[in-house]
Structure formats: C-alpha cells, structure tokens
C-alpha cells in the first residue's frame, strides 16, 4: 500500500528540479529581452527636440499661456513645451521639494516673489541678468521697479516676472448704487465695514474675504490689514508681534466682519472661491488681488462685467496698504536645458507676448503688473480703463521694505522672507481658521500663533 509520500514519485526522479530549471531560464531570458528593448527604445527617443517641463500655477493667465504654447512651438520647432499646472499650494510643495533635493524634474519653474530672494541667495536659481540684458528687445528696465526689486538680490536678477499684482477693493456698483452708497477712492477699513454690513442681505453678502488655510491664502489680506492697523509679524529685533494689540485688533476686526457681513463657510474661501462668488453677483465688496480685475471685467467669465468699481486697498494708519506679489519664471541652476529655458522665458515675459494675448483673447486677459509698456498700449488702456491706471499706480506705490507703520528687517509685504515662513504661515492660518469657525477665540489662536512665530524667528540675523 502506498503511503502519502510516495505520490510525489509519480514523475521521474529529478523532474521537479528540471522543470524548475526550465522555468527559471524562461523568466530570466524574458527579463533580459525586456530590458534590452527598454534600453533601445530609450536611446532613440532623444532626437533633436528638447522638451521643457514647466511647473505652473492654475491661474487664468497661466491657462492662457498654455493655450498659446502652439504659437511658441511653431516659431521654435526644436522646443516642445510640457506644462504641469497645479494649485498654488501644491505647486509650492512640489517645486520646493524638487529644487531642494536637486531632483531635476522641472526645467522652468513658476515661483513667487517670496521664493526668489531665498532661493537665489542659496544658489539654486540661474542668474538671469546676463541673458536678460543681452537679449535684444527684452528691455529689462521696462519691468516696473518694485517688481524688479523683489526678484533681485545683490544686483542679480534671479527670475523673470510673468505677472505682478497688488491688492485693491472691488465692489459691485449695482448693489452699492441701489443702497445709495458712494465708495471713495481711498477708503478706510471702518468705512468699508460699515457699508458692507449695511448692504449684507440674503441675496448677496456684504464682503468676500479669504479665510482658507494656507500661507498664501487666507492670511494674506489679514496681514495687510494688521500692518495698516499698526502691527506686524516681527519687529526690527525679530521679536514676534502676533499677540500684540494691533494684530489682535485687526484679527478681531477681520473675524467680526466675516461673521456679520461675510460669506458662509469662510474656511473654504480662497481666491478662486471668492472670484466665483463675486462674479456671480453674490458679494458687494471683494478685497483681493489686482489680477482679479481682468476676469471680473471680462464678459465671458463674469456676470457683472462692466458693473464693477475699483478703489485703493482700505487703510487705517498708513497711506496705502496694497500687497505685492509676482509670479515669475525661473531656471534651476542645475538644469541642463538653460538655453532652451531662457528662449521660452524670453518669449513668455517679453513685450510681444502681451500683445499676443491682447489680440488673441482680449485685452483684459493680458498679464498685468509687470511692464510699464503694457500700460501704454492704447487698446489695453481702453478695454481695461476701469482698472489699468489704478493698478499701475498702486503697484508703484507699494514699499516692500516698510509696508506697515513700523520698520521691519525683511523685504516683503504679506509674508516674511524667511524659509520658515511657509510652515509658520501655514500653521498660523490653520489657527485662524479655527477662529473663523468659532472654535477658538482670537486671543487663544494668536497666543498659539505667537509661540509658533517665536520658535521660527531667525536667531542669527
């Protein structure tokens, strides 16, 4: 009688080993063949065309650039453009991680005026002063002075500004005329708050103010308000001032205004959400970036085009309180495609591009706030008549070295130009979101924020 074990002897003795050996041989040869095929394919994909991977932000102006990319590719058949569009926060995270680890994933970066001085000083970006001055017709001096200053470190220009913005107050003329209000050209925050509370009703909110967490989102307008109330993130000795009286007062003012006359669900509202609300006619006031003027006045994108009024950013103790921001194109210093990248950037930030956008899409979609020459184009002045001169004047009036009442040891308006600010601003904005949701008081949140700011303060500056 056979025992169980003898069943394994049904085949001839070494056949298990032999079939195993055959199996291994097949697998190994298959692997070898696939890797050969891969190597062969990789070799032939090079060719003459350089592909530029461009990390961009999902703003309307960048979407327009993507649509116009075929025009560039026609003029430069040896360069192919590959745009990767992300939201502001995602873009920052991706690009910062890539450049800090020298990942080399992106050939052209879209970075803000916050990152440029820090990364330029770190040596992570290519100095563009040479190529910019050598390129015929680029005209570096045409770029508006405050914008140019914000991307220059030690006379080296580390990025090419693509668009620049400050902030101002937009209002729905229909709603305010119906309520009998006239908005002055240089309003104060108290005036604006009074008007917003008066016109707030079920059909539309009084004012849309950002409340979304993120260091480039909700705390941006709040910081400018705090500065015009006499406060600031740090003083000249890098002592944090987040729970000092002016900052507390400004935060309380901001919170109360949102609660009384602002949008429901403030924690969800950043730039895009407020843009949606305002262009649907559901907000009377909107304090935000000057670059919103284009979409807001464009009939394809806004239901209230032609009915929007503009005023300077509301103030209290300062003459102006607009912020300063620019989106710029830059090249990582370790990139191997420097020439191709500069060819693209020269096109995208040059004078001809502005004209191209104006002719293809309409003059209100032109990227604003970078070049003086833009504000001299007659067609632009006509179509953007309600806001062109105002934007131009506001940007030139910004003093990024001392935007508030008190002096400060960094250059920047709505951010602190230290590397820790991304993290600090993000955490503080999360504390403030708790305040807008009513889960924390202003004092509790700002005390927590003060601790975070004290920990992040640079010790060697």
């Amino acid at each position: 009688m056979k025992t169980e074990g003898q069943h394994m002897q049904r085949n001839s003795t070494g056949s298990v080993t032999r079939s195993a050996g055959i199996g291994i041989a097949i697998v190994l040869s298959a692997t070898a063949l696939t890797s050969c095929a891969g190597a062969g394919g990789g070799g032939s994909a090079g060719g003459d065309r350089t592909t530029l991977t461009i990390a961009t932000v999902n703003t309307p102006q960048m979407s327009d650039m993507q649509e116009l990319a075929p025009k560039f590719e026609e003029a430069h058949p040896d360069i192919k453009l590959n745009f990767i569009q992300m939201s502001e926060s995602d873009l920052r995270d991706a690009v910062t991680a890539d450049i800090a680890t020298q990942g080399g994933k992106y050939d052209v970066l879209t970075i803000g005026s916050y990152e440029v001085p820090i990364w330029g000083a770190n040596g992570w970006l290519t100095d563009l002063s040479g190529p910019a001055s050598e390129s015929a017709g680029y005209d570096v001096d045409d770029i508006m002075a405050p914008i140019r200053e914000s991307v220059t470190v030690d006379d080296k220009m580390y990025a090419a500004p693509f668009y620049g913005e400050s902030s101002f107050l937009m209002y729905n003329k229909e709603i305010l005329d119906a309520a009998g209000f006239t908005v002055p050209e240089h309003p104060t925050w108290d005036e604006v708050a009074e008007m917003a509370r008066a016109v707030d009703d079920d059909d539309h909110v009084g004012i849309c103010l950002r409340g979304k967490p993120g260091w480039g989102e909700g705390i941006v307008p709040l910081t400018t308000m705090a500065q015009t109330f006499g406060g600031g993130w740090y003083d000249m000795d890098w002592k944090a001032g987040l729970n000092a009286a002016p900052f507390v007062e400004a935060t309380q003012f901001y919170t109360d205004l949102i609660k009384d006359a602002g949008e429901d669900d403030p924690v969800s509202f950043g730039f895009t959400e407020c843009l949606n609300l305002f262009t649907q006619g559901k907000a009377a006031f909107w304090y935000d970036a000057t670059s919103a003027a284009g979409p807001v006045e464009s009939p394809e994108q806004s239901q209230i085009a032609g009915k929007v009024g503009f005023a300077h950013a509301p103030v209290r103790d300062t003459a102006e309180s607009g912020w300063l921001w620019s989106w710029n194109l830059a090249i990582p210093a370790s990139s191997k495609k420097q020439d191709a990248a500069w060819t693209f950037m020269e096109w995208a930030t040059g004078k001809e591009y502005i004209t191209l956008v104006g002719e293809e899409f309409g003059w209100s979609r032109v990227p604003p706030g970078t070049r003086e020459s833009t504000y001299e184009i007659p067609e632009y002045r006509e179509e953007a008549s309600s806001f062109a001169d105002l934007t131009h004047d506001i940007i030139l009036a910004v003093n990024p070295k001392q935007p508030g009442v008190n002096p400060q040891p960094w250059v920047g308006v709505q951010y602190v130009t230290i590397p820790e600010f991304q993290d600090l601003g993000n955490q503080v904005s999360q504390q403030l979101a708790e305040v807008y949701a009513g889960r924390k008081t202003v004092e509790e949140a700002l005390d927590a924020a003060q601790q975070l700011a004290e920990k992040a303060a640079p010790t060697d500056k």
Binding site: A97, G214, D264, V267, S268, N426
Partner: protein, 324 residues
C-alpha cells in the same frame, strides 16, 4: 517493516533514523528524494521572498535612519545625527496625539457607517429583480472613482455652502444652509469617505449573503422563523467572517485616505489625520527628520493595534473554512 493491522490502515512500526533537524509536518515521514524536492521548492521561493523583503523593508530601514537625523530641506547645511531628538519633539510639542485621535475618529466612524449602509444595500441587492445588474453597477461606481475627483465633486457640487446640492435639498425641507467645511469639517470628511467605501463593504457582504445555503434558510422558515429572526440568528453569525474581512480591509484602505482632507478641509477642525500630518511635516515643513519620526511612530502604533485586533478579536485567520 510494515505490519498490517486492518485492511484499511497501515501502521509504520519502525522508522529510518533521521537527522535531528525537524521538518514539519512531523507526522508524515519523507524519504530522501521527497526531502530534496521540498528543499528545491523552498529554494525557488527565495528570489520572490528576497524581492519582497527588499522592497518593503529597505524603505522602512531608510526611514528609521532618517528619523534619527536632523534634516530640514530649507537648511541644507545642517545635517547630522541627533539621536532621539526628533521623537522627543514629536511627542512633546507635535500634534501626534491629536492626529491619532482624529484618525481613529474619522476611520472608525467611516468604517462603522459604511458597514451599516453596505449591509443595508447588500440585503436589498440579494434578490432577483429587474435591472439588478444596472443597480449593482451604479452602486459600485463610487468606489471606482478617483479619490481626488470625488473630493472635488463633494467640495464644489454637493457641500458648497452657497450652490451645493445638499444645502439646496435642506432648504426644501426648511433647514438653513449649513457651512459644511467651516462648522462640521470632521463630518464632511466622514461623509466623503463613507460615500466612497460603502460599495466596498457592500460587495463583500453581498458575497457573504449569497454564500448562504438556501436549504438552511428554507429549513429555518419551515421551522417558523420569520425574516427578522432568520436574519438575527442565522444570517448575522454566518456573516461574521465577512464582516471581519470587510472591516479589516476597509480600515487598511481608509487609514491612507488623504484626498478629502487635502482638498476640502486642509487639516483644520480636527481633521488632521496621520497621513496628512506626515505630508505637512514633510512637504510644507520640509523637515524630513521629523516626518520620518512621525512615520516610524505611526508604524509602531499600527503594529500594536493590528496585533491586538488580529489575535484577540478576529477569528478569520484562525480556523480554516467557514466558522459555524
């Protein structure tokens, strides 16, 4: 030498001498050839096992090493070994404990809710009706959606405070508009996760329901048990293994949920789960050492919880076949 005790059994009374190494199972003696075959079989497993170990354990070891280092991407010059400093910082000042609590709350509530809803839907689907196939396909669809797409739809179309469908529906019932993200962030995330994972639970429980033997159910009804009694006394015990499997797999998947928090709430209001916290520390804080410490602590907590759950609570891996 073999002596035959009965026509059907052979008893081995003498065994050949064997080396002291015991090879399981010990009660089946193997001859030299068979032992060689077993050894070859094991040898063939080694490449696969080696790749598995490499791919899963090497990243963990690297993370462990990184967690003992101070490495902030924004300060590339300062790198060095700092021992347990990162862990002290995480436990003393970090948000690890509150994040753990958020994770448990969100995952626990979502798992429970999706299990109940999935059970209900599975019971409804466990019968023949016209368009059963269509109904099943529609019910499975949420699970097939990309998590980012579903989070975006919920944020903009459903839970938007001004234009969302949920608020519109509530206004029909007379209830005021609810600011979902600001006032109820944890509930918002739970809703999105439950919506996405209910089909998953439903499918597993449906398999369990359909594996009930019809004769047993018939016998129960012959004995006079109504539908409710049958459900409580016969179906539920039968489903125990399926529930355990669904919960185990569901919790494993839900622990990794990231999109609703990143897209809708951005970590505020008690929704900062462990994955999101890790992401923030690594990609916004850019502190690799600290994020690695968070990662290692998460693994330790997971191992502890999983061990307790699998050894004490879950019968699914203990017995072979269906537990009666």
């Amino acid at each position: 030498m073999v002596t035959v005790d009965s026509p059907t059994r052979a008893v081995v009374t003498s065994r050949p001498s064997r080396p002291s190494r015991r090879t399981p199972p010990d009660d089946i003696p193997l001859s030299g050839r068979e032992r060689k075959a077993v050894r070859t079989a094991r040898l063939l497993l080694w490449p696969a096992l080696a790749v598995l170990l490499l791919v899963t354990q090497v990243p963990f070891v690297v993370t462990l090493v990184l967690s003992f280092q101070e490495w902030n991407l924004l300060k590339p010059g300062e790198r060095g070994f700092v021992g347990f400093d990162n862990y002290v910082a995480v436990l003393a000042q970090g948000e690890f404990v509150s994040s753990l609590f958020s994770t448990v709350l969100i995952v626990g509530a979502s798992a429970a809710l999706s299990l109940l809803l999935g059970l209900g839907l599975a019971l409804l689907l466990d019968r023949k009706f016209r368009l059963q196939g269509l109904a099943r396909t529609l019910l499975i669809t949420p699970f097939l959606m990309m998590p980012a797409a579903s989070a975006l739809i919920w944020k903009w179309s459903m839970l938007d405070a001004n234009n969302g469908m949920v608020n519109w529906f509530l206004s029909l019932l007379g209830a005021g508009p609810v600011s979902w993200n600001t006032d109820l962030p944890v509930l918002t995330v739970i809703i999105i996760v439950t919506w996405q994972y209910t089909p998953f639970m439903m499918l597993i429980l449906l398999a369990g329901l359909q594996s009930q033997s019809p004769e047993v159910l018939e016998a129960a009804s012959v004995d006079g048990a109504g539908p409710v009694r049958t459900f409580i006394s016969m179906t539920l015990p039968h489903l125990r293994q399926y529930v355990e499997l669904a919960v185990l797999l569901g919790v494993i998947l839900m622990l990794q949920v990231f999109d609703p928090i990143a897209i809708v709430t951005r970590g505020t209001g008690g929704t900062k789960t462990l994955p999101y916290l890790l992401y923030e520390r690594a990609f916004i804080g850019l502190d690799i050492g600290e994020a690695a410490a968070y990662g290692v602590l998460s693994v330790i907590v997971t191992i502890v919880v999983a061990t307790i759950a699998l050894r004490l609570l879950f019968k699914i891996f203990k017995a072979e076949g269906v537990v009666r």
